[in-house]
């Protein structure tokens, strides 16, 4: 299990140090600083082994978070915990930065005591933590009743939701957030593509509601489709998607998912991530990048890049950014583009072309002339052209079919709940070789 947790600033100074087990000594703090933060070569592996001690680290802006252990722990667990920890801190004081951590260090120690016990991760749900760890300290007027409620909630069957929540308006927000990753050959052949998606919910519901959630998952539809509604499947053509794997929030009843493939749960209050999934088949790629690179002699190069949007014309993509790498011996660049703004960024060795928005089924192009300094070094390796964007649909094709709410004890029904659904597709690593 986790033996200790350290937080460092970019210089390697320790901001937070919490040791949970005796097998981790003080020198572990220095070992990580010397061997990872101040290492001569950049350490790229998130797991480092130094003198039989394992360090798991993540980095947020300039802050290093490292877990230390001498045991053979599940690395996945540790990273999940670290990310959760970051999430919790963000929900308490916003951005993770040196100043924020210094200003809140009492709070952070308090949090660390709560979410890690003798190195074992505990409940790290923000909404629940906020009930008893507040930035102003626990109020004195917590009644005995409430105290006992905390205990029963934390130890009870439904640890993620307390009883007796009441809202005047029962509301529910559902976001389908997807990251689409792509590697494409210069000729337009897809070398690899996958979508990593999350379903994030914000629920403001009274009582202890039971929810049921349905998506167009192939497995579910194939099973139920034939008997219930065969016409629907054939009508929409590609209406179901194949999900490669998925994980759920702890509130989802896994037994039910396994037997009936239905997602049913009692939701936590507030914001949480209901599910994560990954698909690799039938991805609709929002953009196509067509590069054209010509080397004219040893000192000149011409680059032309065309991007085509490939979705319904009614939709609008935003925050589009194309990044065209330039050779390391570039001595000057001239860029011409019809739309958006393009600039040679010497510090990043790339031409960055930005477009505010772009409709579906359109195309746009940029051309650049690059001057080079003659160099006898080996040929330029031509890194891929990468792209960033945001589109208002799910590239995986995932659709929310229904989300039903049942609350038998209170007097509101599924129809009374106001539900909002939003789809956002973003670029992950969206690259085209040139």
């Amino acid at each position: 299990m986790i033996g200790g947790l350290f937080i460092y600033n970019h210089k390697g100074e320790v901001l937070i140090s919490r040791v949970y087990r005796d097998d981790i000594g003080r020198n572990a703090v220095d070992a990580f600083r010397v061997n990872v933060i101040h290492a001569r070569q950049q350490v790229r592996s998130p797991v480092t082994n130094i003198a039989r001690t394992s360090f798991f680290h993540i980095k947020r802006s300039n802050i290093w978070l490292a877990c230390v252990t001498k045991q053979n722990v599940n690395a996945g667990l540790v990273f999940e915990f670290l990310n959760k920890m970051v999430e919790v801190m963000q929900s308490y004081f916003g951005k993770i930065s040196e100043d924020n951590i210094k200003n809140n260090f009492v709070l952070i120690y308090e949090l660390l005591d709560e979410i890690l016990d003798f190195g074992y991760p505990q409940n790290a749900d923000t909404s629940i933590l906020k009930t008893f760890i507040t930035q102003t300290g626990i109020k004195a007027q917590v009644t005995k009743e409430e105290q006992s409620q905390i205990t029963s909630q934390v130890t009870g069957q439904i640890s993620w939701r307390r009883e007796g929540i009441k809202y005047r308006r029962n509301e529910l927000f559902l976001d389908v957030l997807e990251n689409v990753n792509l590697l494409m050959s210069p000729q337009g052949q897809v070398l690899s593509a996958h979508v990593a998606g999350r379903i994030v919910m914000k629920s403001y519901l009274s009582g202890m509601p039971e929810c049921k959630f349905g998506i167009n998952d192939k497995l579910v539809l194939d099973k139920s489709g034939r008997s219930d509604d065969p016409s629907k499947v054939s009508a929409t053509g590609k209406s179901s998607i194949a999900i490669d794997d998925c994980t759920f929030h702890q509130c989802v009843r896994l037994s039910k998912f396994e037997t009936e493939h239905s997602i049913s749960f009692i939701p936590p209050d507030g914001e949480y991530e209901l599910m994560r999934y990954r698909t690799t088949k039938d991805i609709s790629l929002p953009f196509r990048v067509i590069p054209l690179v010509r080397e004219v002699g040893r000192t000149k190069m011409e680059v032309k890049v065309v991007i085509k949007s490939n979705f319904k014309p009614s939709l609008l993509a935003q925050k589009i950014e194309v990044r065209i790498p330039t050779p390391l011996n570039t001595s000057g660049v001239q860029v011409i583009c019809m739309k958006g703004k393009a600039k040679y960024k010497a510090s990043e060795n790339a031409i960055v072309w930005k477009l505010k928005r772009m409709g579906g089924m359109k195309e746009s192009q940029i051309s650049a002339e690059i001057e080079l300094l003659p160099s006898d070094k080996k040929k330029w390796s031509r890194p891929p052209i990468s792209m960033n964007f945001e589109v208002p649909f799910a590239p995986s094709g995932l659709k929310v079919r229904y989300l039903k709410v049942f609350e038998p004890k209170l007097n509101y029904s599924d129809h009374d709940v106001i539900k909002w659904v939003r789809y956002i597709g973003r670029s992950g690593l969206y690259e085209t070789r040139c």
């Binding site: 011996n329 001595s331 510090s347 006898d376």
Partner: protein, 966 residues
């Protein structure tokens, strides 16, 4: 960064550096650098012209970026342009960039060399110095070729200033080190020597470094420097401090120069001129005296500088090795350091003492410190110092203190660091072998060694103890008893089982009389370990069992049960399986006599290099140097095990003492089996490589790793004489019954012989091995047949292809012999060569005897007695009754007679102890039949030998030869 003159500061550079320093993360730094590189690239674009200042600034930035660890692949051209600038700072930056960044194989190197040439001819000394520094920094081969003519000129020219001379010396030194062949020796070399007399001590210091390196290559050229160096040294050592101004370092006058001068003197032998020698000795004495004075400063630098000079002086004393008083004083001085607080000093003291121990003058003095060294070994905290202490103990060991030292080392071994254990084990084994008090002590020590540090005992060590036990009759019983006792320990090391198994298999019968170690008990004891051992050991134990079958027929049943055991008969290991099956078959099929022949006691091992020593040398190459030095210096050697064992005949080519013969299932006599092996490999063409299997003569051929055993070298006469070498006689008779072996060995030369005979023809391969590291020149071996031998024998010698034998090398010579008539004397081999200037001559008898032309004859009893009666005239018979000079043993006698060439006729003589043999001597002119009868008398330890041949001279000669053997 290089210091930039005031007013010439580069603001852009300063801003850039402070930007980098303020970067919060690596990524930010990378971004800033990329931006700067893009900026510099746009400035260096071909169509723009930059002024010197800007060029310098950007080149500086590039250099800084490079030093931060980023790749720089442009800007070289601009840097080269800077070289031709007239401003010092611009030139300096240019040179700096080039010496840091330019590859030696860059395309620009020509341009750079041209620029350097221009600067070397410049008037401004600062420019010359910059150029010299650059050459010294890069020091490529190409530069050496282009510039070696210019630099010596600078050194010897009267016009150059001191600073330039200094740089030039060091620069030339660097070029010489890179490519010695391109620096031509010229008339300047003599004048460089005179720089030792220079006014400026800096020049002298750098010149000494140069001369030292040059003198190592061609000592002759710089011989006059010895005198200059000594006078310089004496001026420094005896001067008062004020003389040297800047060169006095913490009250020590010019320590670096002194050290360098002392090193330079170590290249040469002690000066012959007595005045010079006196002066040098005076210097060395002064240095030793100064070490006794109280320190002038408490600073560590003071003592460091003082000790550096002192240690170098001691090294010189050891190198000269001529002044007993100085050696002893040095030794006493080092003795003080042995207990010094400073770990480094203790280490150095031990290291130097190791060298001193090898000098005959100071050996005794070193021995006085034995107790201190032993305490150091036990209490020292630093492992490297302990290691040195072990080395020193090993070095100072001789016959007088061997027992004590070995005991101390053994007791320390139990707690020693793992890293040095193996080496210690080897050293203990060697010391025990080299200075044996008696053989029981030796056996005890080695068995103790295996008990204490079994894991670190390499195979060589236990091979060696077995070789020695087998070759020494008098310890065999004791060894058997001791291993038997050792094996009774509940847990013993596998090596112990190996030794035990082997020795009990050979000599178990010697202790079988005792009820406590009856055959059955021995067998059960060994077999209790059997299942815990690895496959090779089990194989060895199986061989022991089959030997037991021979030794103790009474427990044959149990032994066969073991062999018959499925575990063995169907073992997955092919070797074990084969052994089990073959031994089982052998024990059931063969008669007791056959068993006795096949499984007879192992014949003594041929004398060969101590493999342990070779192993130690391989492990620590530097040790061997000391060893060689040491052995070279010792004029007398105590008799050792090797020597005393050397008289025993060779019989088997087994390279390891595993009972190879027993593994051959054919019931053939031992001797003939090994003859077969010899016959297979004795083709003349294959001779050289094959000899590797034949131990002793092949030692030099076995490659540099197997250095020759230098322990068993009795003193040999090196002066020119016509007398036979002292070893010659003794070794000569060894060859009466064997064909291969070492004919002669001293500290310079080893001669091995490999011979084969057929009918009246013989062919000898002589292998001359040079044991030193210097070549033998004019190496001429000649063979002559004195007196009447010339008519009885025809000798053809193939001259050597070369007349120089390189150090450590071996040359081979083939000699063909034809026997015309019977003869008495042996041909004389005389070898002349020049070794380090002095002529050496060695005369030896070539091991060609009459019996070499023997052919064994088989006949039955009746025909034997017929012939015996025919040869009854007085001249034809020779009878001798003599006292046995070796213990009477039926088996060895049989081996000797077979080796001699007789065919043994069993069942002819009614008394089975007696030997009857027959053979024919084949000469070209005649064939002489010989009949022999040998009757041993156990009680009186006497033999009666009767020989009958058809020729009187043959009879006499054969009788003489046989007499020497029994």
């Amino acid at each position: 960064m290089p210091t930039v003159a005031k007013g010439d500061g580069m603001r852009g550079l300063a801003v850039f550096i402070s930007d980098i320093r303020n970067c919060k993360s690596k990524e930010a730094e990378q971004k800033r650098i990329n931006k700067e590189l893009a900026n510099i690239r746009s400035k260096f674009k071909g169509d723009k012209t930059l002024d010197g200042y800007n060029k310098k600034k950007y080149v500086c930035k590039l250099l800084f970026i490079f030093l931060l660890g980023h790749d720089i692949d442009f800007g070289h051209m601009e840097a080269v342009n800077l070289l031709s600038s007239n401003k010092y700072t611009e030139k300096q930056i240019g040179y700096l960039f080039i010496s840091v960044l330019v590859n030696t194989d860059s395309a620009l190197i020509r341009l750079i060399i041209q620029a350097i040439k221009n600067d070397l001819e410049a008037r401004h000394p600062v420019h010359i110095c910059l150029a010299l520094q650059c050459i010294a920094n890069i020091g490529s081969k190409e530069m050496a070729e282009a510039l070696t003519k210019e630099i010596p000129k600078l050194i010897v020219s009267g016009e150059t200033i001191d600073a330039v001379k200094q740089s030039a010396c060091l620069c030339l030194l660097r070029l010489f080190r890179t490519s010695p062949e391109t620096v031509p020796p010229g008339e300047w070399t003599q004048r460089v020597g005179h720089l030792l007399n220079d006014q400026h001590l800096g020049v002298v210091t750098s010149a000494t470094s140069l001369i030292h390196t040059l003198a190592q290559k061609t000592p002759e050229d710089f011989k006059p420097c010895v005198q200059l160096a000594i006078s310089r040294l004496s001026r420094i050592v005896t001067s008062s401090y004020t003389d040297l101004q800047d060169y006095t370092y913490y009250f020590v006058p010019a320590p670096w120069l002194s050290v360098k001068l002392l090193r330079l003197l170590q290249v040469y032998p002690p000066p012959e001129d007595p005045a010079l020698r006196g002066r040098l000795n005076e210097c060395l004495e002064t240095i030793l005296n100064k070490a006794q004075e109280p320190p002038k400063s408490k600073k560590v630098q003071h003592s460091n500088a003082k000790n550096a000079v002192l240690f170098e002086a001691i090294n010189l004393i050891i190198h000269h090795d001529t002044e007993p008083s100085l050696l002893v004083r040095a030794c006493n001085q080092l003795g003080q350091f042995l207990q010094h607080r400073e770990t480094n000093l203790r280490y150095l003291a031990l290291e130097s003492m190791c060298l001193l121990a090898s000098s005959e003058f100071s050996h005794e003095a070193v021995k006085k410190h034995m107790d201190t060294v032993i305490t150091a070994l036990k209490t020292e905290r630093d492992v490297s110092v302990r290691q040195r202490a072990v080395d020193l103990l090993y070095g100072m060991c001789d016959k007088s203190n061997a027992e004590e030292i070995v005991a101390e080392m053994l007791s320390y071994l139990e707690t020693a660091d793992y890293s040095i254990r193996e080496e210690m084990v080897l050293k203990v084994a060697i010391l025990a072998e080299k200075y044996p008090v008696d053989y029981t002590w030796y056996v005890d020590t080695i068995l103790n060694l295996i008990r204490i540090a079994g894991d670190y005992v390499s195979d060589e060590v236990w091979y060696r103890v077995i070789q020695i036990v087998i070759n020494r009759d008098d310890v065999q019983g004791y060894a058997a008893k001791v291993v038997f006792e050792a094996l009774q320990a509940p847990a013993c090391h596998e090596n112990m089982v190996k030794v035990g198994g082997y020795i009990l298999g050979e000599f178990g019968n010697l202790i079988a009389g005792d009820q406590r170690s009856s055959p059955m008990v021995q067998f059960q004891l060994l077999h209790s370990k059997y299942h815990l051992c690895s496959a090779p050991t089990r194989g060895l134990l199986l061989s022991t069992y089959i030997k037991f079958i021979n030794l103790f027929p009474e427990i044959k049943g149990q032994l066969q049960d073991v062999l018959r055991n499925n575990n063995n008969l169907q073992n997955a290991d092919a070797e074990l399986q084969q052994r089990a099956i073959e031994y089982l078959q052998l024990s059931t099929v063969a008669s007791q006599d056959v068993l006795a022949t096949v499984l007879e006691e192992m014949p003594p091992f041929p004398e060969r290099e101590s493999s342990i020593l070779a192993k130690l040398k391989k492990k620590k190459p530097n040790v061997s140097d000391i060893e060689v030095v040491k052995e070279g210096k010792k004029s007398s050697n105590p008799p050792t095990l090797n020597n005393s064992a050397a008289n025993t005949p060779e019989a088997t080519p087994a390279s390891a003492p595993v009972p190879v013969m027993a593994a051959a299932p054919a019931p053939a006599p031992v001797q003939s089996a090994s003859d077969d092996l010899l016959g297979l490999s004795a083709g003349p063409a294959a001779a050289a490589p094959v000899t590797n299997n034949f131990a002793a003569p092949a030692a030099p051929a076995g490659g540099g790793g197997l250095l020759v055993d230098v322990f068993d070298t009795p003193p040999a006469q090196n002066n020119v004489s016509t007398a036979l070498a002292p070893q010659a006689e003794e070794n000569f008779f060894k060859f009466a019954i064997k064909n291969n072996g070492v004919l002669f060995e001293n500290e310079l030369l080893q001669i091995g012989v490999k011979a084969e005979y057929k009918g009246n023809l013989g062919r000898l391969g002589l292998f001359y091995g040079n044991k030193t590291s210097y070549p033998f020149q004019f190496f001429t071996p000649t063979v002559s047949c004195p007196g009447e031998l010339a008519s009885a024998m025809n000798v053809q010698t193939k001259p050597l292809d070369v007349n120089t034998v390189e150090g450590g090398a071996q040359v081979q010579q083939i000699i063909n012999v034809e026997c015309i008539a019977d003869f008495v004397d042996a041909p004389i081999l005389s070898i002349k060569f020049s070794y380090s200037g002095s002529m050496q001559q060695i005369n030896l008898m070539l091991p060609v005897m009459l019996n070499k032309f023997f052919e064994p004859v088989e006949m039955d009893a009746t025909s034997f007695f017929n012939r015996w009666k025919q040869l009854s005239s007085p001249g034809q018979e020779e009878q001798k009754i003599f006292k046995a000079s070796f213990p009477i043993n039926s088996d060895t006698s049989r081996t000797k007679l077979l080796g001699f060439g007789f065919g043994l006729l069993d069942g002819v003589d009614p008394n089975p102890d007696n030997f009857v043999g027959a053979g024919i001597i084949k000469a070209q002119s005649s064939q002489v039949g010989c009949l022999l009868r040998l009757e041993p008398n156990m009680q009186a330890q006497m033999y009666r030998l009767t020989l009958r041949t058809s020729s009187k001279s043959v009879t006499t000669r054969l009788a003489d030869l046989l007499l020497k053997l029994f």
